[in-house]
Symmetry: C2
Subunit: 244 residues, 2 copies
């Protein structure tokens, strides 16, 4: 079973204060990019792997998705999602460990996942599950922490010789466990090559549709100057793939 | 017209001493990875964009390619390639600026390019030319300097807080011109996002087949300890794409 850091009270409390928790999708700078990679969700069967508070599930429902399922490993997240969802929205939230996920065959038009898959150890198995769960022509759209961001042993900014901020890339080729202190101590993530994400998709039968190494727009930086550093390196990788 | 740095005497002389110049494909650590991405070349029509000394053209011919064309912008490179090629090998070398390349329609089974496309400014146009030049089912296999490697304003190693070597990634989102001093001063390269390479291919109609962020094997490092630092970051990006 994957580490369930979201049920750690310290982590959960920190997470609750993030802009993306308070303001939902509009609080996530990459949302507009992800939204452009999504199909029209009207009438679709949609599943969200790592649904958190359920912001995306409610958005899918708002856009007319016919059936929406939100999966998460965290009891606290699912409770919060249920709290925030009104009864008539018809969204199903369900506790699942993505390391051992089973899904019905050819049941979904869209599998979505936001900032979750870098916690999953056996991504190869999960991608196969997603492929089988999609209908032909279905889409798999997800975001993860970017490999440039997850690679270093000590992920903190350095100054280069000109006094400019640089992100210290090392250990890139060594895939596997990275332990960081973000909101709580000892958060375990999986670093993998960008090539690995792409090749696992292709090996499972997916066609790569679009890749984005997210960087904030000038307007986003103006509204939120903290985003400025994301010009230096991509922190998020967004991928859209299609089952032929 | 792209900068023709290979005709700079200082650069050409330095280049002549590189292991990949002296020993050809076997002197290039990434060759085995690239070779695995290539189709069986027996009977194929092959073109090499940026053929240099012609090592790949001769290998294609050795593997039974029916027609091999090597293109390069550099007179010195082409002269050297012709010198090294015996008359009966039937390879055509031709001077071309890849910024303004024209190729016959549906004429090739394989378009190959090694460490050349990061010099090309209008890659979008070139990829379209390649797509039209390939027969349906044909392959485009190429290597470029990896975007992590080309991003920084000052591309030189830093020590992080633990005294480990780190590659300083900055300026990643700013695509375009990078000027480095490698073999000669003022070598102009084009930095672009990894996503850009992939999305340009997809937008032209290609299907992504395989991506490799090259890292040396333990055995390669044992034989050539200078390669050890390439565990820290990928310096080369290899992509194979297919015209459906």
């Amino acid at each position: 079973m994957a580490q369930n850091i979201y049920d750690n009270p310290e982590f959960f409390e920190g997470y609750a204060k993030l802009n993306r928790s308070v303001n939902g999708l509009d609080g996530a700078p990459e949302w507009l990019s992800l939204a452009r990679m999504l199909p029209n969700m009207n009438g679709l069967h949609v599943v969200d792997l790592g649904c958190g508070y359920g912001w995306f599930c409610r958005e899918a429902q708002r856009q007319g998705a016919q059936q929406v399922t939100g999966l998460d490993i965290s009891t606290k997240m699912l409770n919060k999602a249920r709290e925030m969802t009104t009864n008539d929205q018809g969204i199903t939230y369900q506790q699942e460990d993505l390391e051992a996920l089973q899904l019905p065959t050819a049941a979904y038009d869209l599998v979505y996942s936001s900032l979750t898959l870098h916690y999953v150890e056996n991504l190869c198995a999960l991608i196969k599950v997603v492929f089988h769960a999609l209908k032909p022509g279905g889409n798999f759209v997800f975001s993860v922490e970017h490999p440039i961001y997850t690679a270093p042993k000590e992920p903190s900014w350095l100054m280069d010789r000109s006094g400019n901020k640089s992100w210290p890339v090392n250990n890139y080729q060594a895939e596997g466990r990275r332990v960081t202190n973000w909101l709580a101590e000892g958060v375990v993530k999986q670093h993998r090559l960008m090539a690995t994400y792409l090749n696992l998709l292709v090996a499972s039968g997916f066609v790569i549709v679009h890749v984005e190494e997210f960087g904030p727009t000038a307007e986003q930086i103006l509204r939120n100057p903290a985003l400025d550093e994301e010009k230096e390196l991509p922190m998020l990788l967004l991928i859209s793939a299609r089952k032929p």
